[in-house]
Symmetry: C2
Subunit: 344 residues, 2 copies
């Protein structure tokens, strides 16, 4: 990252603010960064579509571009990212783009190596996504699970208020995962695979999951299961967001499916609230972003699976950025990498 620091300094985009650099003074008290000094680019995937955003150093979107993957292969993912990156660069013209791209990927990610260890719903196993992006784009990627960067986006946008330090972002879609912010920092865990909420057991001896275990949350609340359950009750729905919208419109079949989904979610999230005692849970992803009933049912039911004391400080809300969450959070990875040098 030395090259970025030099770039920022040489371009005069980081300047000292005139404070005497006294012994023991924090570097952050001595420098200022112009938020429009450089552009960060982040990419996130949702429903087989890659969304790229270019942001300023406050993570405010300057421009965005999306590309649908032509198939589910890693090559199609890299191609979609590259095309969207080209479109974003063209839009930005002469502005200084930080030579790093943040990537919010599905699946279990080894952040150190940039490898996707597994993304079962895409059929990816041991994919060197980071290396592929580096080769195709010629810039360094930072690859992190999409739910983790989603958490970073939701935290970043409220950090100036300084209130929420412990936040959990839950992505509900084809897969289910959480990104956990603790004390203002993204929790990675020993193997960079903290936050695997989708594989918490909620139905002992329940349906078999892609991970090989039984009764994982993901098996009973994923998008396909939501649609299948509605159809089994003779409901006619094309997709999970459709079921959620119908529930909001008081369709009895859809209501029943959403209530059941909320019950399973409340078991796993209640456990998470007991263990982490977070201040906020933010629902995102195609299912989390849809419908009001799911949120209110979850709010009603979580008390049956979490300590009242832990709930007393908890807010559950929908995501601020919707489908852009992962891309914005991926841009935040780049911003943090560039500026942590100055503020660490």
């Amino acid at each position: 990252m030395g090259v970025i620091v030099d770039d920022l300094m040489n371009r005069g985009l980081v300047r000292t603010n005139g404070t005497e650099a006294s012994r023991g003074g924090r570097p952050s008290e001595m420098i200022e960064i112009d938020p429009n000094a450089a552009v960060a680019v982040g990419a996130g995937m949702s429903d087989y579509t890659w969304c790229l955003v270019a942001t300023n150093l406050n993570a405010e979107i300057l421009t965005r571009s999306t590309r649908v993957m032509v198939d589910h292969s890693p090559e199609a993912a890299v191609e979609a990212i590259a095309e969207a990156y080209g479109a974003v660069c063209e839009e930005l013209g002469e502005r200084y783009i930080l030579p790093v791209i943040g990537i919010g990927s599905p699946g279990l990610v080894d952040t150190r190596s940039g490898k996707i260890i597994q993304a079962a719903d895409l059929g990816w196993w041991d994919i060197s996504l980071g290396s592929m992006v580096l080769e195709r784009l010629g810039i360094e990627p930072i690859v992190v699970n999409r739910s983790k960067v989603g958490a970073l986006a939701e935290y970043w946008c409220t950090r100036d208020e300084g209130v929420v330090q412990d936040l959990v972002y839950v992505s509900l879609g084809t897969g289910v995962a959480a990104g956990i912010i603790q004390g203002g920092e993204l929790l990675l865990g020993a193997n960079s695979s903290a936050g695997e909420l989708g594989h918490v057991t909620v139905v002992p001896h329940g349906p078999i999951c892609g991970c090989g275990n039984r009764g994982c949350l993901q098996t009973v609340v994923n998008e396909d299961t939501i649609v299948d359950r509605a159809r089994a009750l003779n409901g006619l729905f094309n997709d999970a967001p459709g079921v959620l919208r119908a529930a909001d419109a008081d369709d009895p079949v859809a209501r029943r499916v959403v209530e059941e989904t909320a019950e399973y979610l409340s078991i796993a999230l209640g456990g998470l609230v007991n263990l982490f005692n977070p201040e906020q849970i933010v629902l995102g992803g195609p299912v989390g972003d849809s419908g009001k009933l799911l949120l209110s049912e979850l709010q009603n039911r979580i008390g049956s699976h979490a300590m009242h004391h832990n709930l007393s400080s908890l807010t559950i809300r929908r995501s601020t950025f919707g489908a852009d969450s992962s891309a914005i959070g991926a841009a935040v990875l780049v911003i943090k990498r560039a500026t942590d040098f100055f503020f660490a």
Copy 2:
């Protein structure tokens, strides 16, 4: 804590090590603390007995004293602490004792106020344990849940190896709770009530719990339940550790009870492993400290409830300090308070 800092400085127990205090240099590079410069005292409760330890600044025990509570009241707890504190002080003679006491209490603790919000198995609700100790002993208490300080003890003793940064200590006894260390720091959560593992739902619609919910882990693995289950199978046992020892000696009834206990534990701990991706789980408390079969059954079963990737870096082990864990961890609270000033 200024008074302690002044005390340590005035007594010449903290000294600069001669390194030039250069601009940007960390204070930790400039000072040395003699580990025998002062004594820290910590108290922890297990099986209605308070154990007090006096340690040096490396948390090595110098002397200890235990007192059984005459009844389950908060007053009896404070009296037991005060008597053991008196015994420890007498033993220490002229040594400089830091004027703070760490207390590892059962129940939900509000660490800021020193209040026990609830400790259901003791019948405590909204007890100002901190104020009571301050009044009785005349020194400032730091009150933290006993499982949290247990985690601190287990982490502290391995911290020099610098390997384990993410550790979970699980206390299994009349109640069940976890203490979580992340990145070397104790996780408190928004309400200082992170780690409530005992109230994670493991049997949906299961037995009712003291917290008001159903099927909490604590309802199916607490000491009384273990004994009751063994007796229902016509086993003759006085206490839960007895059941665990009999299982190790291949008693078929005891084996069955321990296997069932391990299965429930593996659901809750598997979820925790998925969410936190820790490097170590340490079993403690009267049940966790007893028997080998429980540990090996848990190691065998947790794979059915956790991602294999998250397990690949995990060790599950018994606690190092047994019944002293909470008291040692409570002493670490005091050591940290006194020395963090210099090393923060």
